[in-house]
Symmetry: C2
Subunit: 392 residues, 2 copies
């Protein structure tokens, strides 16, 4: 186990009806709130009305900015920053999924940044101030409701970069599983693939003596795999959505990765796909992850045997570890297929054309400073290209 | 799953050498610190010197109060409150195990309380202010390094009561597994029994649809059971102590019990034992837990079958669930014995004399207002007495 620093102060308000407390919770914390959201679904579902009513009845003033798209755009972030400055907003309430929350965090730090907030995503320079953010989660997937991370797309440059700071951890996040009932089925699959990937990126490691976090990772993965089919069968299954929502937060609040070298190659490779092709992040991860596993597993076959046995329930011959691992990976791919997720880049209408460009961007080789990605196995651009081709 | 509110903001600084950062971390937060500790072990081990040097080199002034005993005494808490007021202390640094931390929390809230702080333990009345507390943990056991709870013994009244408030969560806690190397072997057993009990109190529940927290509980228990024998074999096994220390914090920061009705009968029954007989809390829990299990399991046999199979690895006939459960409980008792823990009240020099008195105190019947204890099965004083007699 490696030394670590664990700090996850986001308050999670979990369960039926919790969103009605938003006004009461913001009252002592905010003078004027930016209510930030996505498309029409929060209006259609009545959630927008309930949130607005809660704010109004608590006497919390707010302005609003809708229109966040999946793979949230820098241009809307700029608009939000201007709005917050003009209106002297002192708190941002994100009502939506990861894209809305990440857009909110970008605005939150941009308000105090003297320059284009994109510079922070490019440089990674530390921030010293940000507006506080709270969230009402409508899609369990990104884990942004408990993390200090934000990922934004610069649509002009076709780049999708992440940024992290403890100042960007939400003050509180409401997780009411009932808010997930109206999600499209495809979104369920994308979310589950993303949540599982957040665990995988931490789970697959060369660090040894990690019994506790191994077990926490495995418990989280098995919970997701047990409950996703139940929610898919009945999109109003409160119990199943409860498990998915809670697991998504545990997957990404940092705990299950403490003391472990982490990987994050799949996320890095996926961000190139969604930056250029504007696909769902979870769809890209579902395609890439089994390919990545097949490409890297021989570098730490014991780790992948453990995955196959403890997570995928493979009960084969340990004397043929390659077969054991392949069975585990095949079961994962089959599970993704069962959720309706794509199995190849072609399923996402992505062809060979820009694979090399993406491989070079993902590793920084395109910018003249190659930094291999991944923890379990360091991947250079040629490796990334090989993985893209494996899943073509 | 029940609605819940999860908030665990204690920062955990984990690993070798982390205690050297104490001065740097306190510098911006404190003008004058109370350094609170127990007996001579922190001086013998050199830890006291290292902490004092870290504070001094960062220019943090401090006063000190040693002498905390296991089952921390109210009288020393009173002394600490006087000292903090007199010296205008604005931060408490606890260097020790759960007793030192709990004593620190009692002082932290007592400083601002106009009356005997014991009143708060008796009434449970909410506090609005407390001095901030940080900890350097020397015994993985109580989980107080990440919780907002404190348990103190009123030695004059022979009562041991707990109190909890979010204001008592440590600001940060240092967990350096090397600090555990010099613990007596008995303390290892006490600590493991306490940590396992913190999970058991949450795990054994009638709440259904708790896949994620079931899995997190089981992973934490299995980690403790795997690593305790390794640490017992080699008390300088850094990896084993790392798992135990991390698991102890996860066991009690609240996460693994979210959304579940909790039990806490064993803790309630044990506090009576240690209040009167001044035994180690973990020793009392090790004696009581198997007895409690045998007394209550038929009220939710499915829960105990799950425990036997998923935690204790029993692979028996599910058509004879009583035998399956008994095998699980027997294995737990054998595990405790392997750690050198007592198996009966007589091992602790406790006889029949005061069992009824304790049963009536534990349930409030002694004070004319019986409140049955326990979540999975409500226990009245007659039940508690029956359990005490089972483990006599």
């Amino acid at each position: 186990m490696l030394n670590f620093n664990f700090y996850a102060p986001a308050r999670i308000l979990f369960g039926k009806g919790e969103e009605s407390r938003v006004g009461e919770l913001l009252k002592p914390r905010a003078k004027k709130v930016l209510l930030h959201y996505g498309g029409g679904s929060v209006k259609k579902s009545g959630l927008y009305e309930r949130i607005a009513a809660s704010l109004t009845s608590s006497g919390v003033a707010f302005v609003e900015l809708g229109g966040v798209m999946p793979n949230p755009r820098l241009s809307l972030v700029h608009e939000g920053i201007d709005l917050c400055r003009r209106e002297q907003v002192d708190f941002i309430l994100a009502v939506g999924g990861g894209s809305v929350i990440d857009s909110s965090k970008a605005i939150a730090m941009g308000v105090y940044y003297d320059g284009d907030v994109w510079n922070l995503y490019e440089s990674g320079a530390a921030i010293e101030r940000a507006l506080p953010v709270a969230t009402v989660l409508t899609i369990p997937a990104a884990g942004s409701e408990s993390s200090g991370d934000t990922v934004v797309t610069n649509e002009a440059k076709q780049l999708k970069y992440g940024y992290g700071s403890p100042l960007l951890r939400p003050v509180f996040s409401v997780l009411n599983p009932e808010l997930f009932f109206t999600l499209p089925k495809a979104q369920l699959g994308y979310g589950v693939a993303d949540m599982m990937s957040h665990v995988f990126e931490r789970y697959f490691t060369n660090t040894t003596h990690t019994d506790l976090t191994d077990g926490l990772c495995e418990a989280t993965l098995k919970t997701l795999m047990k409950n996703a089919p139940a929610a898919l069968k009945d999109m109003r299954d409160y119990d199943a959505w409860s498990e998915l929502g809670f697991a998504g937060t545990v997957a990404h609040n940092g705990l299950v990765g403490m003391g472990r070298e982490q990987d994050w190659a799949c996320h890095g490779m996926e961000h190139e796909l969604s930056a250029i092709y504007d696909i769902a992040h979870g769809a890209g991860l579902a395609v890439l992850t089994p390919g990545w596993m097949r490409y890297v597993y021989r570098d730490n076959i014991e780790m992948f045997v453990q995955f196959a046995v403890n997570v995928m329930g493979v009960d084969g011959s340990f004397r043929d570890p390659d077969a054991l691992v392949e069975e585990g990976i095949s079961r994962l791919a089959a599970f993704f297929a069962r959720l309706g997720l794509p199995g190849s880049l072609r399923d996402l209408d992505i062809d060979e054309t820009r694979l090399e460009e993406m491989a070079k961007k993902a590793t920084g080789a395109a910018f003249g400073e190659e930094r291999p990605i991944g923890g379990l196995k360091k991947l250079r651009w040629q490796d990334v290209l090989a993985i893209y081709r494996m899943v073509l």
